[in-house]
């Protein structure tokens, strides 16, 4: 049975918001981007990976944070704790680790062989007698605050974070706890630089009003379709600075040949997730328990988007590098194939996801070009583009805070 599509009253639930057009300065002005970097990104918790990637003491991976041109080493330390360090030698600043991932007993700089243990402590200085004043305990690798939420590894770049990770994840985080994120161990990732503002990239996953038009050849038939011709959402929920969009799923959809084979032979991926999976959903997913639900798009402000459905989830991480340029990483986490045929379903999931987001990227670059002229000075948000209005509202609030 289908339910009626969601009515047009979502914005009205939030008295701090209205239906007015919004100004577009924050999407292209470089001086506002510098303020965002300072007041939002430098204070936020940033997700760098999963604990399953660091299985043993000494396992590490390296991540770039393009917004700050920063290289970070994340390692499972001797006490089994996950720690994060700046990838820079205290001697004269060279990278101490060149590999992307691996296992180490110590990190040794390939310049003059200063070395650091897994706690970041300086343990080796060749010809140490040449540094008569050296205070080794004080000059280890620069450490960043590191904390875990549901197996995701987050870092905070400020020396004294204003919020703990738990406080930062807030109600939206609490409402997602219990989802089996740890089962998504078969991972793929796309990565690239797109000529668009980071907020446009986030927005493209948070409204479904564009699905019947931009995605008319692709995901329209599964996420909108004849019972939902304007691409209404199932529901939108604002929680602190974060927000979730619940996306419609067309339960009457008859898959085409290869799609049908892929759904049959996949480790749990389904078109509509409601009722199709054996797991019990946490409160925060499909919170209205609609039977016409496909996925939830959970944004953790500012730049982490978790798209969660049955049998899989994927994340988008947006790293702005300027007002009009964003480094975008899309990572899929699928459940492992239980036989060789399920590898087919995984490949098809990856291919359809990539093709659908390639449809978005061109449009985002065109919007950026136009808005950067300064001549498109207002945007008009649909009631079901509430998540976009709220992002605008939230960014503005942070920029106005001293």
């Amino acid at each position: 049975m289908s339910e009626p599509i969601t009515a047009l009253n979502l914005t009205a639930k939030y008295p701090e918001l209205n239906h007015d057009p919004v100004d577009t300065d924050m999407y292209w002005k470089e001086e506002l981007f510098l303020q965002e970097k300072d007041k939002i990104f430098s204070r936020a918790w940033h997700c760098l990976g999963r604990v399953e990637e660091l299985t043993e003491v000494g396992s590490f991976f390296k991540r770039q944070i393009p917004t700050f041109n920063l290289s970070v080493i994340v390692v499972r330390s001797t006490d089994n704790e996950i720690k994060a360090f700046m990838n820079a030698c205290s001697h004269r600043g060279n990278d101490v680790e060149l590999a992307d991932c691996g296992k180490r007993k110590a990190f040794t700089c390939k310049f003059h062989a200063w070395s650091y243990n897994l706690d970041g402590r300086l343990i080796g200085v060749p010809d140490e007698a040449g540094f008569p004043e050296l205070d080794k305990p004080d000059i280890g690798l620069r450490q960043f605050k590191c904390s875990l939420w549901e197996g995701f590894i987050f870092v905070n770049l400020s020396s004294e974070p204003e919020l703990s990770l738990k406080e930062y994840m807030g109600q939206q985080g609490a409402d997602l706890e219990g989802y089996p994120f740890h089962l998504g161990t078969s991972k793929f990732q796309f990565s690239g630089v797109i000529d668009t503002n980071w907020k446009f990239l986030v927005d493209s996953f948070c409204e479904t009003y564009h699905i019947p038009i931009l995605h008319r050849r692709t995901i329209n038939s599964t996420m909108a379709g004849p019972d939902n011709i304007h691409g209404r959402t199932v529901d939108i929920r604002l929680k602190g600075d974060h927000r979730t969009t619940s996306v419609w799923g067309n339960r009457k959809y008859q898959p085409k040949t290869v799609q049908g084979l892929a759904f049959k032979h996949s480790p749990g991926v389904a078109i509509t997730s409601a009722g199709d999976d054996s797991i019990e959903l946490p409160k925060g997913l499909n919170e209205t328990r609609s039977p016409n639900w496909s996925i939830d798009v959970c944004v953790f402000f500012p730049g982490l988007v978790c798209v969660i459905g049955a049998g899989m989830y994927f994340t988008h991480q947006m790293w702005p590098v300027s007002a009009g340029k964003t480094h975008w990483e899309m990572t899929g986490y699928l459940r492992p194939a239980t036989n060789a045929a399920e590898r087919f379903g995984q490949e098809h999931t990856m291919a359809e996801l990539r093709d659908a987001v390639l449809e978005d990227a061109n449009t985002l670059e065109r919007m950026q070009r136009n808005v950067s002229t300064g001549l498109v000075d207002k945007f008009y948000f649909h009631d079901h583009e509430l998540s976009l209005r709220y992002q605008h509202f939230t960014v503005k609030k942070h920029l106005e805070d001293s």
Binding site: E52, G192, I194, T218, V258, A262, R354, E359
Partner: protein, 123 residues
């Protein structure tokens, strides 16, 4: 170019003719093959392979990744190309995404291995 004889299990010999173009060793290679192929080639491959795909997947569902005999591994890789070109036929009616961003701007940097056993997340 691979030899086109006996690289698939005997029960799937009618698909060997496609192996030179579509039996490829990574997700990236399969996407590159798709976007440089003609739509006629893609459609030929789709039309013939979909007839045998359910049987091929039923066969593969009895086997485990990490321990596939070579011919079964080749069959799986051929099926992975079918997964890759599926959207070209079922969504776009052309090899590439219609009005899409160039694939090279958003490349696959970590792929799920084709034939390896799964279960441990790699960094």
């Amino acid at each position: 170019m691979k030899s086109l004889i006996n690289i698939l299990p005997e029960a799937f010999s009618e698909l060997e003719v496609f192996c030179g173009q579509w039996c490829l060793e990574s997700s990236q290679a399969r996407n590159a093959a798709r976007i440089t192929a003609s739509m006629d080639d893609i459609r030929d491959f789709y039309d013939v392979t979909t007839v045998h795909a359910e049987r091929a997947l039923a066969h593969l569902s009895t086997l485990q990744l990490g321990e596939l005999p070579e011919q079964d591994g080749n069959l799986l890789r051929l099926m992975l190309s079918l997964a890759e070109i599926g959207p070209a036929v079922e969504w776009f009616n052309q090899p590439r995404v219609r009005d899409g961003c160039d694939e090279s701007h958003f490349p696959l940097v970590i792929a799920i291995p084709d034939l390896e056993a799964q279960g441990n997340l790699q960094a």
